[in-house]
Symmetry: C2
Subunit: 409 residues, 2 copies
């Protein structure tokens, strides 16, 4: 008998029928003899609706109160799922984050899990019950409800799997698995049966919606295999784990893209210590997440500093940056809100020559201008005009033959 | 500096603007120097919507899970109210029933308050905060969330007022106060400035929607004055308390009515011990609430047994009663689903002759047939045809001069 942690996303529990469908899937797993702990997100758009409600009251909702408010979304879905299971003849109990022993720091709206006291879960499992845990939430040492921020429910599930010594963490949503590229964009894109943590981390960070990178990191740290699959089909999904077949290493595994990219360049910045801090500390304080940062080689102690933010944050970011640029003696600030980024991802890429060259020459043949380049050990990312992103993904998918036999696992 | 407990009903917090309105009213009270504890109901129809959601999942929702589900409604409204107060510059904190120390028995969906451990509330008040408590909910000794059933939030408020030694419990909703009769029915109906606990209890039980009888009982037990008033106007409302001016005693204070009455008569019942139990125990087990019960004097050891239920329960009740009636040798069962009841209420009514006689002769003059009569020390109730209820209320209001000078306080 193994212990399995399953996680169902908001679209999988969006209404009563979908919740009953999830209950049937859980029962099928329970019948096969496993112990099952289930983590659920809030139903459909519930969280967004609660946030909207809070902002109807005030532009600056109290953080503690906002966390308590948002935590109700997952409590609702977890009780409904427990009811559905009971109705189908299986003993089940819903637990809030606090009841499940999810202990976090006190950083409201972006709390980190400090540890899990799984006593209550273990005791309910021993009684033969299916345990449903409200995702995305925990409790601080001051006994206040906290929420975990983006990717919160994925993180709850992997953390629980680690804490309980689960065999696998299964993450169900409306996505069938991890693909070599977006199948909506590249018809010949192929679903991967497995992928390594590192590659998935890059994919998740650089555009794949299959799972939040925070959960992948945690899975890697505690060596928890994570299955990404759909709750609406019987497609076996993609397993994220550490022991990927050797022959698929040193290949491009997947092409990722992201259309939500805007760029700000501070032109003619005096190149002296403290300039980066002067710009990026106020941006962080304003809650603006900065993605790629590139600084050109300095000529006569004058340099250009370019960084990217989400499109929705470009105006806010310019308001923060412009007065600072003035005060540090920069020449001007220019912004471009219509960009996208395209990445090729695969282990050992940096050790294998030629990947970057092939990527750049593909762009050149397609007449696509590269605006910024960043690389990691297993990823090369180019920022290009938003209107050419789809062409770039299709061309790279063809050139790197991610659909060919040798890539299949 | 006094401590005040305020309670706002669902219509008073139905949307963001109404919540802000409530926040302004709380602040006005806080500014006058009082400490304020506020109990809130769920917004508008939230509770009904959550119940609907549960019944979309199953016809028999698990009781524990249903209570957790329903408790989220009051958590949502309490956090939003706390946010509104913070936004207006007043420190506030929302507490769930569990955090507020509302300890109940484990009877899910109809839990009774066993006691209140008000440590947390007292500590937050000492820090100068306005404390918002989610009504209608508590926690059992097994640390499971419970709900208090009908009148739950009113009960939370009065129980908190008793536990904290509050000067008064103010109950705000969309009703302006307690009237001599329904002003929609009797244009000359007058709002009472005060009323005794006992009279209010009869009124609340016999049709007035101003406050739940359970909360009135608790108020009487702990001698907590309860103000019933509107959150939308500055009408001073009606004070329910124990020291009502002497000259208004021994008078009809108010006419109550209820249109939700159906009658079942078991005809020709052998009059022997155990017959009442044989009928009413199965009805209670089926969850059917029986109101008035009348048994006629027995002739030749054969009697008729009549009782009333809510109209919505008549079919269910007949299904329970008919086989029992057969098995105990009754002649037949007849039902009438189109009845209503009208009551006159005032202290000392039974000690003062003539009230019942005047009530019956009024009905006679109006040509209204009385089907059943029941009385208490301070109430006389007649069950009549539903189509004549409004005429009866108007006539009684006129005959008993509840609008006249001597009744004013």
């Amino acid at each position: 008998m193994a212990l399995i942690v399953q996680k169902y996303g908001g679209t999988s529990v969006a209404d009563a029928d979908k919740i009953k469908n999830v209950a049937r899937r859980i029962i099928a797993r329970k019948k096969s003899g496993d112990q099952v702990v289930v983590v659920v997100s809030a139903m459909g758009d519930t969280t967004d609706e609660l946030i909207r409600l809070a902002y109807q009251i005030t532009e600056r909702p109290d953080e503690r109160e906002l966390d308590v408010l948002l935590s109700t979304g997952e409590v609702v879905s977890s009780t409904l799922l427990a009811m559905a299971l009971s109705d189908m003849g299986y003993e089940a109990i819903s637990l809030s984050g606090a009841q499940a022993g999810i202990q976090t720091d006190a950083n409201h709206s972006r709390a980190r899990i400090l540890g899990i006291d799984a006593k209550r879960i273990v005791s309910e499992l021993k009684q033969g019950k299916i345990v449903i845990v409200a995702g995305f939430q925990g409790i601080s040492q001051e006994m206040d409800v906290t929420t975990l921020g983006r990717g919160g429910s994925d993180t709850t599930a992997v953390a629980l799997a680690a804490s309980l010594g689960a065999k696998v963490c299964e993450r169900y949503t409306d996505v069938e698995g991890v693909y070599t590229a977006d199948p909506g964009l590249v018809p010949e894109a192929r679903q991967l049966t497995e992928i390594g943590y590192e590659e998935m981390l890059e994919l998740a960070t650089y555009g794949s919606k299959a799972i939040h990178p925070r959960a992948v990191e945690l899975g890697e740290l505690f060596k928890i295999p994570i299955l990404v699959a759909s709750s609406f089909t019987d497609n076996p999904g993609t397993l994220i784990h550490g022991e990927v077949s050797m022959e698929v290493r040193n290949k491009v595994r997947s092409i990722a893209y992201d259309l939500d990219v805007a760029k700000i360049t501070v032109v003619g910045v005096p190149d002296r210590p403290g300039i980066a801090a002067a710009l990026f500390v106020p941006l962080a304080k304003a809650g603006i997440s900065v993605d790629t940062i590139v600084q050109n080689a300095s000529i006569n102690n004058i340099t250009d500093l370019t960084f990217t933010v989400a499109k929705s944050e470009i105006d806010k970011a310019m308001k923060v940056v412009e007065p600072i640029a003035n005060s540090i003696g920069a020449k001007e600030c220019v912004s471009d809100p219509r960009l996208g980024k395209v990445s090729i991802i695969g282990t050992g890429m940096q050790n294998t020559p030629g990947f970057a060259a092939r990527m750049f020459s593909t762009f050149s043949e397609e007449g696509i201008n590269i605006q910024l380049i960043t690389t990691s050990e297993i990823r090369i990312t180019c920022i290009i005009d938003e209107s050419r992103v789809k062409d770039a993904v299709r061309a790279l998918h063809r050139v790197f033959e991610v659909t060919s036999k040798v890539n299949q696992t």
